[in-house]
């Protein structure tokens, strides 16, 4: 659906040039929700703005449904953009227009027949749950409501793709979840492919099928959300994943626990979270697991858990128990230090 191929972008500024994107390649599947996560300055906004050419790539291509949009003429680009909706962190509504007009004006300007405009505006305002606010001005709306108007505005062009540049970053946690649920519903019911960028793991966790982690203009890790979460490879990814668990264990504690056994971090998802694996290994092997810290959370549809466990027992018994857990599809990693427990837990 969206294919980003060897995309690079260099900004020339007075103080030299900034390589905001370095050879980025991504593929967003039709009907999927793809998330890009990274810290501030990683190049996420630059990436998403290259998808509808708000920013022109220095090299590389972006194609949507097989059309290379970097090769379009100005007129063709206008048409192509109408099929790519976009929402922003700052909502970007007309302050001087009512909710109704905020959706209607762009429709009028893109040549939607007058008789259809009213029906469309009303339909999409009702999808985002704002039918009763049609005559209100943006200043009288909450952040979440403003984003709903922006979503209705984007959807009213009946796009195939929706881009979100930190669409929930200006909202409180509850409102964020409500908007994310709305995005999920749009994706399911209208079949719109969504590419979103965020710096919050929570957003990825809640809605994304696939994820790419960016750092310094590069994609350092990408894949299905569940795979990236359960076995993060890159340091930055590990930090993000750990952010949703947050096990706290001091170095002293780890040192003293290591005298009597080993500490492992266990990650399990879907099927593996349903079996009482820990209970089984205590029966099969001569070890005593002790849960130091644990957490279970939800990844879109799958449960996803993380445990920090101290195994007391002989080294070889522990080794066999760990092998058994791995066979059951549980990700394991030994924890040696506090720093590491923060990173890998």
């Amino acid at each position: 659906m969206i294919k980003i191929d060897h995309l690079s972008k260099t900004f020339k500024t007075k103080n030299g040039s900034v390589e905001a994107l370095k050879d980025v390649s991504l593929e967003v599947k039709k009907g999927g929700i793809f998330g890009v996560i990274g810290y501030s300055g990683a190049g996420k906004s630059t990436l998403i703005r290259n998808v509808n050419l708000l920013e022109k790539p220095t090299s590389g291509t972006v194609s949507i449904d097989g059309t290379d949009i970097t090769s379009l003429s100005a007129g063709e680009l206008l048409k192509a953009r109408r099929k790519i909706g976009m929402i922003f962190q700052g909502f970007n509504l007309l302050k001087t227009a009512t909710v109704y007009d905020n959706v209607a004006i762009p429709l009028k300007l893109t040549g939607v027949p007058k008789k259809d405009i009213k029906e469309r505006v009303n339909r999409f305002l009702s999808i985002v749950g704002l039918s009763d606010k049609a005559d209100t001005y943006p200043a009288q709306l909450s952040g979440g409501q403003k984003q709903r108007v922006a979503i209705a505005r984007a959807l009213s062009h009946e796009p195939e793709v929706l881009l979100s540049d930190e669409g929930t970053s200006a909202l409180d946690p509850d409102t964020t979840d409500a908007i994310l649920d709305l995005l999920l519903r749009i994706n399911k019911e209208l079949g719109i492919t969504i590419l979103l960028i965020t710096h919050e793991m929570h957003v990825i966790q809640r809605v994304c099928d696939s994820v790419a982690v960016m750092e310094n203009g590069e994609v350092v890790e990408k894949g299905k959300t569940i795979d990236v979460f359960t076995s993060p490879k890159h340091g930055t990814t590990k930090k993000f994943v750990n952010g949703i668990f947050n096990h706290q264990l001091s170095d002293e504690m780890i040192e003293s626990l290591k005298e009597t056994g080993k500490i492992y971090s266990l990650k399990f998802t879907g099927d593996s979270s349903e079996e009482p694996a820990l209970a089984i290994i205590t029966k099969r092997f001569d070890i005593f697991p002790n849960i130091l810290s644990g957490n279970i959370t939800q990844l879109k549809e799958d449960p996803f858990g993380s445990l920090l466990v101290h195994f007391k027992g002989a080294d070889n018994e522990i080794k066999e128990a760990i092998n058994y857990l791995q066979e059951k599809g549980i990700q394991t990693e030994e924890v040696m230090t506090y720093e590491q427990s923060k990173r890998i837990s």
Binding site: N52, L54, L77, L78, K79, A80, R81, R82, I84, G85, M86, F88, G90, N92, L93, L94, K95, T96, A97, I105, P106, L109, T110, Y137, P138, A139, A150, R153, A154, H157, L163
Partner: protein
């Protein structure tokens, strides 16, 4: 009361004529100045670096022209421009003769005020409209000018008041108006009551305009 009646009897028609003249001068030159100044203001914004019609040369050129004209006091402009005025409207006297210098004086000022107003418009909204595949010309009118309206109205109010001030000098080329009345009768022929009355009318005019501008701007502003 009889004093007032006597005053009106003697000066009422002069005042009325002067008021009409001021009105004519201000409204005609305002309309022409807006027709020149607004597009110029838009051009000043759009030719800036990073904007859709980015053009360093044109932007510099416009800025220099505007700054040069705006440095010249109106009274000097009025005389300096006599040959040009003659060339454009065929005369240098009367209301017709003063419109050209008034427009040359006001249009660049309006262009600057429009530029400032348009620059206040949130870049993000413009971007959102670009992302929706909307043409630049439609964005100019439906986003930039539309969102800037409250600020544009306030700017035009300021420009109009400045214009009223400039018309006081119009008497020098025989165009009449309130300023001329106050000067000729109030000052030269020493009729203080004419002077005071004219000043009072001007104060009411300016106050009224500013209040009107404020009300309209507030009405257009929705936050």
């Amino acid at each position: 009361m009889s004093k007032v009646n006597a005053f009106l009897e003697e000066w009422g028609s002069y005042l009325w004529v002067a008021l009409i003249e001021t009105f004519q001068m201000v409204s005609i030159s305002l309309v022409i100045s807006i027709l020149i100044g607004l597009p110029l203001g838009i051009l000043l914004v759009l030719t800036r670096p990073g904007k859709s019609l980015e053009n360093h040369f044109l932007n510099r050129f416009l800025n220099i022209i505007i700054n040069v004209i705006r440095s010249i006091p109106f009274i000097i402009l009025l005389f300096f421009m006599l040959p040009f005025t003659k060339f454009v409207v065929g005369t240098t006297i009367g209301v017709k003769g003063v419109i050209v210098p008034l427009v040359v004086f006001t249009a660049p000022y309006i262009a600057r005020l429009m530029e400032t107003s348009l620059l206040e418009v949130d870049r993000g909204v413009v971007e959102a409209y670009e992302a929706m595949g909307i043409k630049t010309k439609d964005i100019i009118w439906n986003v930039m000018v539309r969102e800037a309206r409250p600020s544009i109205i306030l700017g035009l109010t300021i420009a109009t008041i400045g214009l009223i001030g400039a018309t006081a000098m119009a008497g020098l080329v025989g165009a009449g108006g309130l300023g001329d009345l106050a000067y000729r009768f109030g000052h030269l022929r020493y009729e203080p009551s004419v002077m005071y009355t004219t000043v009072a009318v001007l104060i009411i005019l300016v106050q009224g305009l500013q209040s009107l501008g404020n009300v309209v701007a507030a009405k257009l502003k929705k936050d």
